[in-house]
């Protein structure tokens, strides 16, 4: 697929991070080590290309924890397909960001 071939390493890392459970901007920044000026614009492009989708956390949950609500990101079906293709292209991607780390956070 043309879209898969165009995905940069940074975008693939972000997709992998989301897939691994790092579902909001700051956690992706911490995991990948990328600055905010790279992560947020990349996420907007991924969302524009329909590879990820964002959703605001419910206000009631945020209120109960006395914090502002967060915007969470998750992979779409095409995002998952693209990530699979990117893993073949970047074989170390899974080793860099594994699901276990996210779950342990």
């Amino acid at each position: 697929m043309a879209a898969e071939a165009k995905l940069s390493h940074t975008a693939a890392m972000i997709l992998q991070a989301i897939s691994a459970g790092y579902v909001y901007g700051f956690s992706i920044m911490e995991m990948t080590g990328l600055p905010s000026g790279t992560v947020y614009p990349a996420m907007r492009r991924l969302e524009r290309d329909d590879l990820i989708r964002s959703q605001w956390e419910k206000q009631s949950i945020a209120d109960s924890e006395q914090r502002p609500p967060r915007k969470y990101y998750r992979l779409t079906a095409s995002g998952k397909t693209t990530l699979e293709a990117s893993r073949k292209r970047y074989p170390l991607l899974e080793r860099l960001i594994s699901s276990q780390e996210a779950n342990s956070l």
């Binding site: 909001y24 901007g25 700051f26 920044m29 600055p35 905010s36 000026g37 790279t38 992560v39 947020y40 614009p41 907007r44 492009r45 524009r48 914090r67 502002p68 609500p69 967060r70 915007k71």
Partner: protein, 501 residues
């Protein structure tokens, strides 16, 4: 870090996010700001230890906030509408450019007083039947050739062909202006009846108010009124010394009215007795009004006049010239230049449009009509540009009528029309008959050494994918002129912009 410092920095960080959010499009701004504020809150919380932030943590937060600038800029770039593909050489663009040139020429023409005066021929038309008399032997057709004595003799003799005469001659004299300032002027001494005989529409009466008024009237030219009187509104009635004479200013000659030879700074109107006083060497101009018999004899624009002396050797030959040819205005001159340029056009370019084509395909009748209408529009705009541009170039520095300026207008109008029409035809030959866009991307095809094996020349393509134009480098008996090759619709998907205009 003290809590007060932390609060101040927190306020600065929030303020920065607010400022940066201005870059984001209004529809997305609220959500963008909400996300970044939320993220900032979580960043601050994750970096704080026991509710306090160190300076190192503040630096990290500042770096995080700076990332918002990149994010907002990126979002702004993506929201910007993608630029439309640039359509170069479109017919509309060509007409727009010509119209712009025309508008500029028109604006310049309306700003130049010389052009303004020229464009209203009614202002300088003289009465019918008025002619200008010159000596036949005069070397200069517009030079002074008539002596005051001759004027006096003709005026005092009963004439069959003329019923009125006026005379004027021009001198360089010292003029003393009301502020005791002396200046050198070119002054035309003229008969009192000169302006009345010419029938020029002056906004004042140039004749003296009464017989008892001893001071002769002086009429200032528009230039001298501007230069020496600074457009003084109360100039009428002032006393002025010209040479050894004193006159009273009767008024200012309106701009561009005077079309006779010489461009004086002032007209000094005198009685005939004073006008015919000077030496025998003085020469001037004679203006006459034809009687009914004279008008019947005057069939063309000029007429020979011979005055018989006592012997054949004493015969003097004159000729009378009508003012009609001299006062036809700029439009008549332009018409002449336009006709000349159309006649000369086949000498500088081929007037065919290279209509031959390889295929049986022909553009629709509507397209053909549009193509001809486009060519006609270009010709019209070029002619209009030539009219105004020639006026601008000829009269930009001329305040009074001069044959040189008139000739200059003719030359400019002819040149612009001729080369403008040549360009219009050359441009038309390189426009796709379907969409009227100029063909581009010239490619050399073939070799000159193999002319007899295959054509060689230049191939150009229409960016709408309608046609190919083949122009031979070396015209042969089987490929003499350019040819259009019409492409079928299967080519269209290769071209993004197949629009015509």
């Amino acid at each position: 870090m003290k809590p007060s410092q932390d609060r101040a920095l927190c306020a600065m960080q929030n303020g920065m996010l607010c400022l940066v959010s201005i870059l984001v499009r209004a529809g997305q701004r609220a959500e963008w700001r909400r996300e970044w504020r939320s993220e900032l809150w979580h960043v601050r919380r994750s970096l704080s230890e026991d509710g306090r932030l160190s300076w190192a943590a503040q630096r990290e937060i500042a770096a995080f906030c700076l990332g918002s600038l990149q994010d907002a800029s990126c979002l702004r770039r993506e929201c910007r509408p993608s630029p439309q593909p640039r359509i170069s050489g479109a017919a509309g663009q060509c007409l727009l450019r010509l119209s712009t040139v025309l508008a500029v020429c028109f604006v310049v023409a309306s700003l130049l007083p010389g052009v303004d005066a020229e464009r209203d021929p009614a202002r300088f038309q003289v009465k019918p039947g008025v002619i200008f008399i010159q000596k036949f032997s005069s070397p200069d057709s517009f030079g002074p050739s008539i002596s005051p004595a001759l004027f006096r003799d003709w005026k005092n003799t009963r004439q069959r062909y003329f019923d009125e005469f006026a005379f004027y001659r021009t001198l360089h004299e010292k003029a003393v202006l009301p502020a005791r300032r002396a200046t050198d002027w070119t002054v035309t001494h003229a008969s009192l009846n000169l302006f009345a005989m010419l029938g020029l529409q002056l906004p004042f009466d140039p004749a003296p108010s009464s017989e008892s008024d001893e001071l002769p009237p002086v009429i200032l030219s528009h230039d001298s009124w501007r230069r020496d009187f600074a457009y003084a509104p109360d100039v009428t009635g002032r006393i002025i010394h010209i040479g050894n004479r004193i006159g009273r200013i009767a008024g200012v000659m309106p701009y561009g009215i005077w079309r006779l030879p010489d461009s004086p700074d002032a007209w000094f109107l005198e009685r005939d007795s004073q006008l015919t006083h000077p030496s025998v060497d003085a020469r001037g101009y004679l203006v006459a009004h034809l009687s009914r018999v004279g008008q019947a004899w005057m069939t063309g624009t000029s007429v020979p006049i011979s005055v018989r002396g006592d012997t054949d050797d004493d015969d003097v030959e004159f000729y009378g010239v009508s003012f009609a040819g001299r006062l036809r205005g700029p439009w008549g001159m332009f018409e002449f230049a336009l006709i000349l340029s159309l006649l000369a056009l086949p000498a500088v370019t081929s007037v065919t449009l290279g209509e031959s084509n390889y295929s049986s395909h022909r553009p629709s009748r509507k397209r053909t009509l549009l193509r001809w209408a486009f060519l006609a529009a270009k010709f019209f705009l070029i002619a209009a540009i030539a009219y105004f541009a020639s006026l601008d170039l000829a009269w930009w520095n001329s305040s009074n009528y001069s044959p040189l300026a008139e000739f200059s207008q003719l030359a400019w109008a002819f040149t612009i029309c001729l080369f403008g029409f040549r360009w219009a035809l050359a441009d038309q030959r390189q426009r796709c008959p379907v969409c009227l866009r100029r063909v581009t991307h010239p490619a050399q095809v073939g070799l000159a050494s193999r002319t007899f094996l295959g054509w060689n020349g230049t191939e150009m393509i229409c960016m709408g994918g309608h046609t190919l134009l083949h122009v031979p480098s070396l015209p042969t008996s089987w490929f003499g002129g350019q040819r259009w090759l019409y492409l079928d619709t299967s080519w269209e998907f290769l071209f993004a912009d197949s629009g015509a205009w």
